[in-house]
Point group: C3
Chain length 211, copies 3
């Protein structure tokens, strides 16, 4: 009880921050594809809530996280407006999209794992919930605007989320206190993405002996 | 209580009518793409129930609306059969597809907003549920047959649904009685779509100062 | 009660077998498309759990079947590893993918119908739940790797699932005992698929008098 309560509150804060970050990345992708203002808002919304919505639909007694939490809605509106207003300043969108996407991936992965723990699920499935939460917002964003989903690009993406989720479980096992418990795996996921993209690192090629 | 009960029954009637309209639009799109009879039925079904199904999955304690209501299933079968039988009479499918789609959009938007109200959700989120309910059946239909989703076409679509949903909330606030309460926003949504498509009206272009 | 309990246990066993078969078919498709190892695992997972996940999300008080059942996760891991290890032996992937897909379709269709019966749903809707369960894993698999979904190919696919689901209801009505009750429709679905593909059988063409 004593340990559950603060963790749930931290999950709420992380949800708001992650929604803001993913809303910016979604709005920037929509702006690059020249959607109209409502289209930008819809893509920002789907990017921000996509992963968490699928996670919450998987668990029977959970309402979707944004249904009763207007802070999420305001964070998404703020993120989409920020992207629309400062868009002209961002001559080259590629970098900020990637950066906000990495932040969203890190933040949301940890909320997904934590919710798995709250429901006392198997460790495997906790990490899986974290990956679903972190990854599917970006997948929806990319599917909607007909780009190749980030998950299936060469660089490490789902792998970063799986690694961060497993690290979070390890840190809980080692009784690392808040907020290090959350901050360390979040930073590890973001750093993994930045390093993978900067140095063009991918998983070993299992097809190299073929054709 | 006294006002809730009749509203829920009206929602049921609207669901059946909307399912019929969307089933026709779905079946016509499937026929245009020369799917086999079961394919036509599947597309009609997904178009009719897609939006409401996503809405009901978002709310933890709600069964999907068609699970216990066979009238919906019969309405969809009737819509799909109507489209298959009268297809040869409809030399030019474009107009009837658009028309039945507009009716489905109007009817389903209002059921989504009403369900949000029943759960005492925030006004923003009520309108959002209405838009999800109205829009996603048509999106699924178009994604399945690989057409560009209506939502992302130039003409006002999601905007009509958002506008109608907000109008419905306003009319409730003004204590407008049944059935005007529902009929006015439904007709407004349908009319907005017809006017937008007829006169080729779209939202202002936010990219006009760019390249 | 007495008859419900063993049926639920049979559903669990069938779920594990179906997950194994669909995981192999998903992993083989992913390998043919040269995804990296985590990509193979993700496609195997989505193929195996996709249909049942959508089915369970439709029913409000049902947790998704794999959340509390680690046997499913192990079956998927085993299926994906089997496909990765024996891939070099399978020079021509087309046949095994088709074969494991047919097995998954047969097994999962019956679990979906049985769950509809457990919730005392209308016969139509029981068959529909069976088809959703059987079909959507393969649809997700094909959508992810950008292949044309099996459902929309010419040969009988959803039709085989609908036929098998209806046959299962008929056998229950005729009070056929376990395990014949499940084995007969499962084999019928698999055989229908094999015959349809081998002899290139499709539904009658309703467009032949046109164009």
């Amino acid at each position: 009880m004593n340990t559950e309560e603060p963790l749930s509150m931290i999950v709420n804060h992380i949800n708001v921050m992650g929604s803001f970050a993913f809303a910016i990345s979604g709005a920037l992708v929509a702006l690059r594809n020249k959607l109209d203002p409502f289209g930008v808002l819809i893509v920002a919304f789907l990017t921000a809530v996509g992963g968490g919505t699928i996670r919450d639909m998987l668990i029977a007694d959970r309402d979707v996280f944004w249904l009763f939490d207007t802070n999420i809605i305001y964070a998404i509106l703020a993120g989409a407006l920020t992207a629309m207003i400062f868009r002209s300043k961002l001559q080259f969108f590629q970098k900020p999209i990637f950066f906000y996407d990495a932040i969203g991936l890190g933040l949301f992965t940890i909320t997904g794992v934590q919710i798995g723990i709250d429901y006392e699920l198997n460790a495997f499935i906790c990490v899986l919930l974290g990956t679903v939460t972190g990854v599917f917002g970006g997948v929806l964003r990319d599917v909607i605007v007909n780009e190749i989903p980030v998950v299936f690009q060469k660089e490490i993406y789902a792998t970063a989320s799986i690694f961060g989720g497993a690290l979070y479980l390890l840190l809980i096992y080692l009784k690392i206190p808040n907020p290090y418990l959350q901050v360390i795996p979040i930073i590890c996921i973001i750093a993994t993405r930045i390093i993978a993209v900067t140095y063009n690192i991918s998983l070993p090629n299992i097809y190299k002996n073929e054709q």
